[in-house]
Symmetry: C2
Subunit: 408 residues, 2 copies
């Protein structure tokens, strides 16, 4: 008998029919002899509507009241899910963040979970009840509702699973697992059976928006296996048809490269001829950080005549703001700014890289063979990322996918 946390995202509970479908899966898990805690998102569209109300009143609204308003979306789904389970003969009950309680710090709008009191919900699970928990929400020490930030329901699910020492956390979503590349671009992409937390973290932060980054971090820390699977097929989590995100040592057949990720809509900025003195990087990036502009790949060129060039990427939506911040900065001396608005980041991710040479070379050679120019390179222990012209994104992903032997 296993303890399982099953989380259903917004599209999986978008209307009553889908809530009923999700409830049907939980019934099968219970009938298979498992103890189940369910974590639910808001019905899709609801959170956006509620956020819209808050913004309509004031873009600078009080984030404590924002939390009170938007947390209601998950509250509604939790009650409805409990009803749908009861209708199927399952004893079920909703447990709101403040009822469990799920204690968070008081950084409203993007709170972090500090502690989950499992006494009562564990007792209920022991008694054969299904416990339904609204994702995304908790309660502060001041007894006010807090929320974890957009996508926070994944984090809620993994946190509840960790607190319950669950055997598995199933994330039901609108894709049926994690793929070696985006199947819309690489039709021969394969679904992975297993992937390590570390690889998933790189993929999550690289635009494969399957799992929220913090939930993967929490999984890695707690060691709870996370399964990504579709809520629309016939299968339930215990059929193990999705992708399991787990510890590196639990993956017997480690692949050299697990997947090819891509991220479009990037822009490259090169600040030409800045003084090559200690502190210049800090001087350059501090005003960008202050403007909440998310700077990604950073490369510094070799110095010539005491001057150097600094290149970095920003999301295309932040490009104009970033240029303005740099132009308005009176403390920074430079000769010019060069911009390439249409670049994409292509990344090769794999735990196997740690112990194998030649992975980077395969990437560079493959792209060169296709005549694709590399503008920037950055690497980590388990990832190599390159910046290329956006037009070549699909060609690059497909070529690399084949080159690393990831095809069906």
């Amino acid at each position: 008998m296993a303890v399982i946390v099953a989380k259903f995202g917004g599209t999986s509970v978008a209307d009553i029919e889908r809530i009923e479908n999700a409830a049907g899966k939980i019934v099968k898990e219970v009938e298979a002899g498992n103890k189940v805690a369910v974590v639910v998102s808001a019905m899709s569209g609801v959170t956006n509507r509620l956020v819209g109300y808050c913004t309509e009143i004031s873009p600078m609204h009080d984030v404590r009241e924002y939390d009170t308003v938007v947390s209601s979306g998950e509250q509604i789904t939790a009650g409805l899910m409990a009803m749908a389970l009861q209708k199927r003969g399952i004893t079920a009950r909703s447990w709101l963040g403040w009822q469990i309680p799920i204690k968070t710090n008081n950084v409203h709008g993007k709170a972090r979970i500090e502690d989950i009191d499992t006494a009562e919900i564990n007792k209920r699970l022991e008694a054969g009840e299904v416990v339904v928990v609204p994702g995304f929400q908790g309660v502060t020490a001041q007894n006010r509702i807090s929320t974890l930030g957009r996508g926070g329901s994944d984090t809620s699910a993994v946190a509840v699973a960790a607190a319950l020492e669950a055997d598995r956390c199933d994330i039901y979503t609108d894709v049926d697992g994690v793929y070696t590349a985006d199947p819309r671009i690489a039709p021969k992409a394969r679904k992975l059976n297993k992937i390590s937390y570390e690889e998933m973290l790189e993929l999550a932060s690289l635009g494969s928006k399957v799992l929220q980054t913090r939930s993967v971090e929490m999984g890695a820390k707690s060691g709870v296996p996370i399964q990504v699977l579709s809520s629309f097929g016939e299968f339930i989590g215990s059929d193990r048809k999705g992708t399991l995100v787990t510890k590196e040592e639990d993956i017997v057949e480690q692949e050299l490269v697990s997947g090819i990720a891509h991220q479009k809509d990037e822009s490259k900025i090169t600040v030409i001829g800045v003084e090559d003195v200690p502190g210049v990087a800090a001087k350059l990036f501090k005003p960008l950080a202050a403007a909440a502009i998310n700077v990604d790949m950073i490369v510094q060129n070799i110095s010539q005549d005491g001057l150097t060039d600094m290149t970095f990427t920003v999301p295309r939506t932040d490009l104009e703001r970033a240029k303005k911040v740099l132009k308005d900065d009176v403390t920074l001396n430079y000769q010019d700014i060069a911009v390439n608005e249409n670049v994409a980041k292509i990344s090769v991710v794999g735990i196997g890289m740690k112990s194998h040479a030649g992975v980077a070379n395969t990437m560079f050679q493959t792209l060169a063979d296709k005549g694709i120019n590399i503008e920037v390179i950055s690497t980590s222990e388990i990832k190599i990322s390159v910046l290329i012209e956006e037009d070549y994104t699909e060609l690059a992903v497909r070529s690399l996918h084949a080159a690393y032997g990831l095809e069906d």
Copy 2:
């Protein structure tokens, strides 16, 4: 400096613009030097949508989960109202039922308020903060959200006012007060400046759906004056432009008759030839009560030959069910059932009736002069109700309104 509770109904907070309008009224009350607690309903339409979800899952849904779902409507408005007040420079905060707490019994779906802990909200009012409370909701001893039944926000408002020993409870709604008759029927109807709790109770239960009955009962018990006023004019509660529902002794110029109420869509059932023995009324009405059919005016005829006729009214929507219940009842002996489907109840309400003779006679004479036949009569200390053919409703109301000198 007065303590005022201001309650805004669903149409008064139907969208962000109206929430902002309501917030503007609160600002004026605060600027006038008052301490204000605001009680809000759900935005109009929201509760119906949430109830619809519950019913779609199952008409027999768990009412505890129903409370978790539907209470979110008021929670949303409370957060938005707090934001709208803050935007106007007012320190404001939402306080949900479980945060105050507003303790109720555990009759979910139609809970009764047992206690309101005013320690914290009183402290906030003292500090000049505006306290925003979602209506309709409380929390049980089991720490679960409860709701007070449809229209319960009026009750919440008066209960909060009673607990705070407020000087007045303003009910902002889509009418500007209580009228001597429905102005759509009697164009010369006047808005009353004051009316007693007892008269308002009779009017509330007679189809003048301005205030929820329980809120008036609570007002009478606690002695908090309740003002009914429009949320759409320029005025605020302290301008005293609405109708004040208050103690009889506070009404200096008592009128003989305060108003003419009417209720359409009634049906009359006469059970002919039942045995006139002790217990027959109980035998007749018990199965109707068991079927949750709301029986109103009851009249028993003089007995002849040991047999009598029993006449009573039911809402027209319950007529078919009531007939079926009577026909299916094997314990009850009667000769026949006669039905008049199209009747209306017309009532004359007034505290002055207690000490004045002739009020009933004026009613009967007025109706007779217009050729309107009275089918059933029932009276209380401050009310006379008659049943007439529904087609004569408007004529009866207008004639009585004039006969009692209620015109402008």
